[in-house]
Symmetry: C2
Subunit: 139 residues, 2 copies
């Protein structure tokens, strides 16, 4: 099992422990034939529901050689998925799942925090060892 798959499973398990029902893995977002967009990035999106809430969780494992390139990918993917979700399923909230403690340091950088605020990026921090949600950081 790759590091990427381990993080995927950990996030999935953490969501279930947090009371969510996994409804899609992967979640496919379609907009005017642009299904191809689901192939963006290496990590897939998980769809989950809890009571009246629906979420789409995009996992970023930050296992690439450059944190900055991973971040660029994360922001690009978030903005693209958010743009599509707003059109086809606006009630579903989009989150980027980041792993604690592996990826968390990248998000403590002041410039990165400005990017997250300015671009309304919602985060969920997951402890990949205990497989538990550490913190929801909605928009």
């Amino acid at each position: 099992m790759t590091a990427k798959d381990k993080i995927h499973d950990a996030v999935r398990n953490a969501l279930v422990k947090d009371g969510w029902i996994i409804t899609h893995d992967p979640l496919t977002i379609r907009y005017k034939g642009a299904r191809v967009f689901v192939d963006l990035g290496a990590e897939q999106i998980i769809g989950a529901e809890r009571k009246d809430e629906k979420i789409a969780v995009k996992i970023k494992s930050f296992v690439g050689p450059s944190v900055m390139q991973d971040l660029e990918g994360a922001v690009g993917q978030y903005v693209i998925y958010l743009s599509f979700l707003e059109q086809v399923e606006p009630e579903r909230k989009l989150y980027i799942a980041i792993s604690h403690p592996l990826s968390i340091s990248a998000f403590q950088n002041e410039a990165v925090q400005m990017l997250v605020r300015r671009n309304h990026i919602a985060l969920v921090v997951v402890d990949v060892v205990s497989e538990e949600v550490v913190q929801w950081m909605p928009i």
Copy 2:
């Protein structure tokens, strides 16, 4: 000379023909020590001025194996650079330069056009053979 360098030179020459003075090549954007962000992506940013106008032009050559991945990179980079420019030099307008006819077809896709509109992405289309600006598409 690589295809990437050819497009870079063509865009630079097209801007000069269009009356712009190239002031930075590459343009470095700094925000709270996050200079590292200028290393994002393979293509560098050109800074130019004409009368009272200042622009930053990010070239996307779309020479990668996947148009969608190139597009993801373009959107991610645009959003990141725009976020920083707003903080440090808000009067400088950011454009993505795309080549005619090489990259133009990707931007005729309906889903891509929605992304461009929704995310306020300004484009400048450059004919890389004649090295002329074909069209400015501001926000």
